[in-house]
Structure formats: structure tokens, C-alpha cells
């Protein structure tokens, strides 16, 4: 048995493999020392300390920590400035998936940082800009309609079309949801399509909460760095929160607000806003939240399991468990240490970054 300091090349494209790492993080709460992950047909077939590795499968010894791939909530990759449609405010049937360029080089940069899935969202410059898409960072689409984006933020206001004020904004959304909603809006109302509430300031968060609670709507509040200061109300409304990944220099109050979300049991993840925000900032903001009171396991879940749940893909990704997609990352050390690097990244069992001799 050779403990390879650098992993040998795993079989690409559909190859079955077993990986034994110093630590396997099933999710933020559960780590298995010297755990083995068995990958078959792009899925995790088994994970544990004593997994039986079949004869036809190569067992690779890895130095480091193995986790589920990171999930970035909200990015604008492959969109090339798409979303500046000034003419109409309400486009519930529009799908951002139709505008994504799947071969954008930014996906590679995300993979290099251990990110295996990303929620692509339309820019919040319209009232209802359409649906988000969830993609693996290989460019493969997981869902072309993951959330309906509803913008409660001031960014939806314009001077040359409605709504031009917060009051009209709320009125228009009420009309949309209350007067015979159709299509995507109807799905959102019936809970079939989660809603991405784009907000920035705390008053906007409150307005969105009020609107959602009155109609028993679910989903996630996205984009408010201080949402945590309203954690109790958010928890009561049973909404999740997507915290913007700011990066180095994040105001302390924002990092503390994330700790409040954790304290009140609100499910949260981080929105990356790549490509303008570099991929490194996803783990940077998680590390900063750790320094302000968020526990290690919670922070790791915010990058993986909880993020996958918010993205609507919790059943197939976000943790290293039987039946899940084999979206895995081998880190050189603890994933929440910024000194750790993603040595190898797999998406659905295929090696997509690193791992070379």
C-alpha cells in the first residue's frame, strides 16, 4: 500500500474508483478517519471506514481530506452581461439557462477551487427576471428552472419603466401573485418552484418576509449581507438565506450576521457572484464566518449540504453518501483552512481538476 503524496491519475469518464483519504467528510457534522469512498457509474456507491472494495476497482490512497464538492449559490458565469433588458420588468417564463455559454473559462477557475455546482441567476435589475439554473461546473445543466427570481431590492426600480418606486414594486408583485397567477408564478405559489428573493438592505428583507409570510411562500433570501440581524423572523418564515461572498475586508458586522443565522438555525449558503468575484472568495467568506463564531461543521455545510439544499439539489449532491452524485474534492488539508488546496476534483465520478502525477 503506497500512501501517495500526490494522487495518481484516476480513470476518467465513468471509471469506477475507490478513494481512501485521511479524513472523509460525509457532511459538516460527520468525518470518518481513514474513510473509503467507492465510486461507481458516477455515483457514490458506498462510504465508510470499512467499505469492501470490489476486485475490479482500483483503491487509491489519498493524503488529505475528502469532501463533497462545494456549491456556489448565485453566479453570473457565461452570461456576458446578459440581463440588461430594460424594456420589461416581469418575465416569469424567461430562463437564464437559455443564455448561458457553457464553455465559459470561468467554470475551470471554479473547479480549481473545489466548486462542483453553481446556481446561475439572472441579474436583479428587473422585478421578475425569470428562473435560475443549476449547473455542474463542467457546464452540464442540472436544472434549467431551479428558482423563480423575485426582486424586492431597489435594483429592480428604473426611471424609464415600472416599477419606479418601492410601493409600486410591492403592488405589482401582489398583482402577479394574487390575481390568477400562471405558469412559473403559479408553480412558485404552489410551492413547486422555490423563490429566490433578491434583496440587499434590511428593510428590503423585511418587505420580502412580509410578502412571503402573507402568502406562505418559501425559498431563499439572496444578497443581503446583514440578513442575519433578522434571523429570528427569517427562521419563523422558514426561509433560507444566501449570503454574498464578499472576501477579504468583509465588514465585521457582516461576518457576525452570518454567525447569527447559524445561531438561530437558519439554513444558509454563500453566493459567489463569479466572475466579477474571484472563486477563492467562497472559502474565504466561510473562513471569515468561522472567525466570528460559526462552528466548523456549520461552515462546511454552508459550502456543501445546506447549499445544495438551497439550490434544490439536496437529493443528489452536497454530501458524500450512498446514491449521491460523486462530486468530490480532495483537499490537501482541512477544507476550511485557506492554506489547503483542492488537489483533485471529481464531478459525477469524472476527474475534472488536478490529480495528475
Amino acid at each position: 500500500m503506497i500512501i501517495a503524496a500526490i494522487m495518481t491519475v484516476a480513470l476518467l469518464g465513468g471509471g469506477d474508483v475507490a478513494l481512501r483519504a485521511d479524513k472523509v467528510w460525509v457532511d459538516g457534522a460527520t468525518a470518518i478517519d481513514k474513510g473509503i469512498v467507492l465510486v461507481r457509474d458516477g455515483r457514490v456507491a458506498d462510504v465508510g471506514a470499512n467499505v469492501e472494495v470490489p476486485q475490479d476497482v482500483q483503491l487509491i490512497e489519498c493524503q488529505g481530506h475528502l469532501t463533497a464538492g462545494l456549491v456556489a449559490l448565485r453566479a453570473q458565469i457565461g452570461l456576458d452581461g446578459e440581463g440588461v433588458d430594460a424594456a420589461r420588468a416581469i418575465l416569469p417564463e424567461a430562463k437564464i439557462a437559455d443564455a448561458v455559454r457553457r464553455d465559459d473559462p470561468e467554470f475551470a477557475r471554479l473547479r480549481a477551487q473545489g466548486i462542483t455546482a453553481v446556481v446561475l441567476a439572472p441579474t436583479a435589475t428587473k422585478l421578475v427576471p425569470g428562473s435560475t439554473a443549476v449547473a455542474k461546473t463542467t457546464g452540464a445543466m442540472v436544472s434549467d428552472r431551479a428558482h423563480l427570481t423575485v426582486v424586492f431590492g431597489g435594483s429592480a426600480l428604473a426611471f424609464n419603466r415600472e416599477p419606479t418606486s418601492y410601493a409600486r414594486q410591492t403592488e405589482m408583485l401582489a398583482e402577479l401573485f394574487d390575481n390568477g397567477p400562471k405558469g412559473a408564478v403559479s408553480d412558485a405559489k404552489n410551492g413547486r418552484l422555490p423563490i429566490l428573493w433578491e434583496v440587499q438592505s434590511k428593510p428590503e428583507v423585511r418587505r420580502a418576509l412580509e410578502f412571503a409570510t402573507a402568502r406562505k411562500l418559501g425559498g431563499a433570501l439572496c444578497g443581503a449581507p446583514l440578513a442575519g440581524e433578522l434571523a429570528e423572523e427569517i427562521a419563523a418564515a422558514k426561509l433560507a438565506v444566501i449570503v454574498p461572498a464578499s472576501g477579504a475586508g468583509e465588514p465585521m458586522r457582516e461576518a457576525q450576521s452570518v454567525a447569527l443565522l447559524a445561531k438561530k438555525g437558519v439554513t444558509f449558503g454563500f453566493g459567489l457572484d463569479a466572475p466579477s468575484n474571484p472563486a477563492q472568495n467562497l472559502r474565504m467568506v466561510a473562513a471569515l464566518s468561522l472567525r466570528h463564531g460559526v462552528e466548523h461543521g456549520k461552515a462546511l455545510n454552508a459550502l456543501t449540504k445546506d447549499a445544495a439544499a438551497i439550490a434544490g439539489m439536496g437529493a443528489r449532491a452536497g454530501s458524500v453518501a450512498r446514491g449521491m452524485d460523486a462530486d468530490l474534492v480532495l483537499w490537501s488539508g482541512d477544507p476550511l483552512e485557506l492554506s489547503s488546496a483542492a488537489k483533485a476534483v471529481w464531478v459525477e465520478g469524472a476527474l475534472v481538476h488536478g490529480g495528475a502525477q
Partner: protein, 477 residues
């Protein structure tokens, strides 16, 4: 300085148990301190187990494993103790106007712009993250930003303790910025759409390098003139002394001769003409004092390092091809985004690099097109000395210097080199290496008691000692 015993008893602190607070005001001034560490990072790569550091009058007086506290010393205990971090690329404490000033000259001194009351909460956060000092710099985007100073960021220090080195380095930029956004301008009574420009053209940038060499040469000439003047002045003073001595020797005789000549003239009825004394040597003319030239002279002579913010290959090449002729100049290259291909050259000329550790996304300035966090690792592996600065224009970035340094480890930099980049090498490129950056006898006492191994996510400062005073203690926010 007399301090009541009871206060010392209360101040005997053990980091692992509930510590006594030092009160709302920081900087309890004690002459003597003894710091006990389970792991003492003397300098990156050198760790002493169960060691102590003895501090007196702002200096480190002893480092060892069996030290006894000096009389009256306050004792502090911690698991990890190391030198305070230095951010060589920061805007903390200098107002935005001064930072962005484009009208700076070489003589502009950043220490003048450092405001001890600005960004106080950010400075406290940075202190809690283990950063003790920064390079204060005005004119960051200017072609010549002026003289940067090394300043301690803790509040409550005396003015004399605040500035470690007033004239630390001269900051210049080559090929940075210059990109202009397009826009509408009113020209000749009409609104005209002006196109944006991408940045300086390559020949312009190379010309800037030539101009830099020219200014150094002018500085050298000024220095030569100054030295010549100094020599000539000495020579003139010697001659004056000789002549004075000579005249004094003949004074009596000369007086008699003059009296005789006067009486003769009176007898003969002729007007008496004074013998005119003519000096046949002139006082040398002093060269015009020029503050800017003084700075260039210091740079040319190697008295002050020259820090050049330069990124692109073309101007890097131009710079490196000229450094051989500038033997005395101490160069530091900042940014160096496209310098990997020149690593050998940098090493050969012993030129350290200050990297910009902040990751950049799309929409970055063009001179940083090739910005890559793996740069530090590439350069360090080639033997180049690498200092790590937070690099941002936002003063808040300094607080996250340790996380940024850790991130560079994640991009291939050796851990000890990352720590060196924010301690020993940072001090070196700022010319304060003899006073800061490591825990060694004789150096200033700027150190951090860490809650975990330095540069890990959990590591924060429980105590910070700066200029020998405790400037941060637990539960003091």
C-alpha cells in the same frame, strides 16, 4: 516607574483561563514584560518549545528556555507566540484623499498623512488579527507616490513610538492605471462621445522606466554635487584658516607698515591709500537644496530602497535590463504580475518582490490581467525573496493579511515562506529588518500571542505587544 504590587498580581494572566481585562483603555505601560510560550516562533522555520521572551523599555532583551522575569515584570502566557505581522501594502490609517493623491512628489512623506484617529475600529480588528505595523503610503496610484513610512497601527502609543521608520522606501509606479473610461465631453460647444482608453501604451510604459533611471542618475549627480560642495567647503575653510593665521602672524608688522605709510603720506601731502586686501579664493557656491533631489540621492546611493509597482512583461524587461548599471540602488518590485519568466534575473540581482495577495475577478485593472495567486510560489521556488501585502485600496484588507497569506500557501507557497512574507521579508523590504520581523535580542518588542498556530483560520491574537507595551488583551474589543 512605580506600579502598585496589587495591580501586578491582577495582571498575572494565563491565556487559557479567564483573563483579567486590562480595562477599556489599551496600552497599559509596563517597563518589563515576560512572555511565556509553549511554541515560540522566533522566525519562520525556527520554533522554540516552552520558551520565554523578556522585554524591557520597548526592546527584546532576552529569548530562551529558562528565563526568569525581570523585577516588576508583567507576565503573559500563550500557546503560540510570534513576531507581529507587517502589511507592506496597506492603506490603513491614511485618508482616502492622500492615498489617491496623484500630485505627490518624491519628497511627499506618508508619515505626515498617517492619522492616528482614522479607521480606529479597523486598526483594532487588524491588531486582533495579529498585524502590528503597516507601510503608510500616500500617492499610491501616482507615478511617484513619495516616501512611505513604517507605522505601528496600535492606538495609545506615543508619537515617537508610532513611527518605526519615517523615511522607509520611495514608492513609484510604472504602467499602472492610465485606463480612462469613455464618456461624454463638451468640446467646441458640442457633446462628443469620447472613447475609453485601455491603459498606457507599451512604449509609454517603457519610457517611464527610462525616466526612472534618469531620475536616479539625476539623484546621483545631485549627490555628487553635494559631496563636491562638502569637499570644496572644507578646502575653502582650510584656506581661510591658513590665510587668517598668516595675516595674524604678520599683523604687528603690517600695522607698523600701515602707520608709517600713513605718516609718510601726511608729510608728503599725498592722500593715503589703503592697501586693499584681496582674497584670491572664493567661497564655493552651495548647490540649491532640492527636497525631491535629496530623496533621489538617497535612492541612488542605496540609503533608501526604491519600491516600483510594475506588472507587465515589457516594462519588467526594460527595468531588469537596466539594473546592472544601478549597482547601489536597492530595488523592490511590487505587483510583478508577469514576472515569473524573469525570476532568475530577479534572483541574480537580489531583488525582492512584494506580491499583491488579494484575489481578483473579472473586471480587474488591465495591468493585472495575469494576476495569479500562484505567483508567490513560483518566485519563491526560484529563490526570489517574496514579501506579501494585502494590496487593496480598502483599509479593511489589512485585517485579513494572515488569511491572504494562508491562501497563498493554498496556491503552492511553502508555509514558512508565507509567514516570512508577512514578517521577516516584509520588514526587510521596508528597510526595518534590523528592528522588526522576528523575535531576537535587540529588536523592538512587537509580538503577538496567538490563540492557535499562526496563519490558521482560527488563529487570532489574544495579546499584542507593540513597542514593548501591551496594546491588546483578551475581551478588549
Amino acid at each position: 516607574m512605580h506600579t502598585p504590587r496589587a495591580w501586578f498580581a491582577a495582571a498575572l494572566v494565563v491565556a487559557s483561563s479567564a483573563p483579567a481585562s486590562l480595562g477599556a483603555q489599551e496600552a497599559a505601560s509596563t517597563d518589563a514584560l515576560l512572555i511565556r510560550a509553549e511554541h515560540l516562533v522566533v522566525k519562520p522555520g525556527v520554533v522554540l518549545e516552552n520558551a520565554q521572551v523578556s522585554i524591557k523599555n520597548g526592546r527584546i532583551v532576552a529569548v530562551g528556555t529558562n528565563l526568569q522575569p525581570l523585577p516588576g515584570a508583567q507576565e503573559i502566557r500563550g500557546t503560540w507566540v510570534g513576531a507581529g505581522l507587517i502589511d507592506a501594502w496597506s492603506t490603513l490609517g491614511v485618508s482616502g484623499d492622500s492615498v489617491g493623491d496623484q500630485q505627490t512628489t518624491p519628497a511627499t512623506r506618508a508619515a505626515d498623512a498617517f492619522d492616528p484617529y482614522l479607521d480606529e475600529h479597523l486598526r483594532r480588528e487588524a491588531l486582533r488579527a495579529g498585524v502590528v505595523a503597516v507601510r503608510a503610503q500616500a500617492g499610491v496610484p501616482a507615478r511617484i507616490g513619495g516616501v512611505g513610512s513604517v507605522v505601528r497601527i496600535a492606538s495609545g502609543l506615543d508619537a515617537s513610538q508610532r513611527v518605526v521608520q519615517q523615511d522607509a522606501v520611495l514608492w513609484t509606479t510604472v504602467g499602472i492605471g492610465g485606463a480612462q473610461p469613455g464618456g461624454v465631453q463638451f468640446i467646441d460647444g458640442e457633446l462628443v462621445q469620447m472613447p475609453g482608453s485601455r491603459g498606457m501604451d507599451v512604449f509609454e510604459r517603457i519610457e517611464l522606466v527610462d525616466r526612472l533611471f534618469g531620475q536616479i542618475a539625476a539623484g546621483r549627480n545631485y549627490l555628487v554635487q553635494k559631496n563636491e560642495y562638502a569637499h570644496e567647503l572644507v578646502e575653502w575653510q582650510k584656506k581661510v584658516a591658513e590665510k587668517t593665521a598668516e595675516l595674524e602672524k604678520d599683523a604687528k608688522k603690517a600695522k607698523k607698515d600701515r602707520e608709517k605709510a600713513e605718516t609718510d603720506a601726511k608729510e608728503k601731502g599725498k592722500p593715503f591709500e589703503e592697501k586693499k586686501y584681496k582674497e584670491d579664493f572664493k567661497k564655493p557656491a552651495a548647490p540649491r537644496v532640492d527636497d525631491d533631489a535629496e530623496v533621489w540621492a538617497a535612492v541612488a546611493d542605496g540609503a533608501m530602497p526604491l519600491m516600483v509597482h510594475i506588472n507587465r512583461d515589457a516594462e519588467l524587461r526594460a527595468l531588469l535590463s537596466g539594473v546592472a548599471d544601478q549597482a547601489r540602488v536597492r530595488w523592490v518590485v511590487a505587483g510583478a504580475a508577469e514576472s515569473v519568466a524573469h525570476a532568475k534575473h530577479l534572483k541574480a540581482h537580489n531583488i525582492p518582490v512584494l506580491v499583491h495577495a488579494l484575489p481578483m475577478g473579472a473586471g480587474r485593472p488591465d495591468e493585472y490581467d495575469q494576476h495569479d495567486l500562484a505567483l508567490a510560489a513560483h518566485l519563491a521556488n526560484a529563490g526570489v525573496k517574496v514579501a506579501i501585502g494585502s494590496g487593496g485600496m480598502d483599509p479593511a484588507h489589512t485585517r485579513d493579511l494572515p488569511l491572504l497569506a494562508a491562501q497563498l500557501v493554498g496556491h503552492g507557497l511553502e508555509r514558512t515562506k508565507a509567514l516570512a512574507g508577512v514578517t521577516t521579508i516584509a520588514a526587510e523590504v521596508l528597510d526595518v529588518g534590523a528592528r522588526m520581523g522576528s523575535i531576537e535580542v535587540g529588536k523592538d518588542a512587537d509580538l503577538v500571542v496567538w490563540s492557535a498556530e499562526p496563519l490558521t483560520t482560527a488563529a487570532q491574537a489574544t495579546y499584542v505587544v507593540s513597542a514593548g507595551r501591551v496594546v491588546l488583551a483578551p475581551e478588549q474589543n
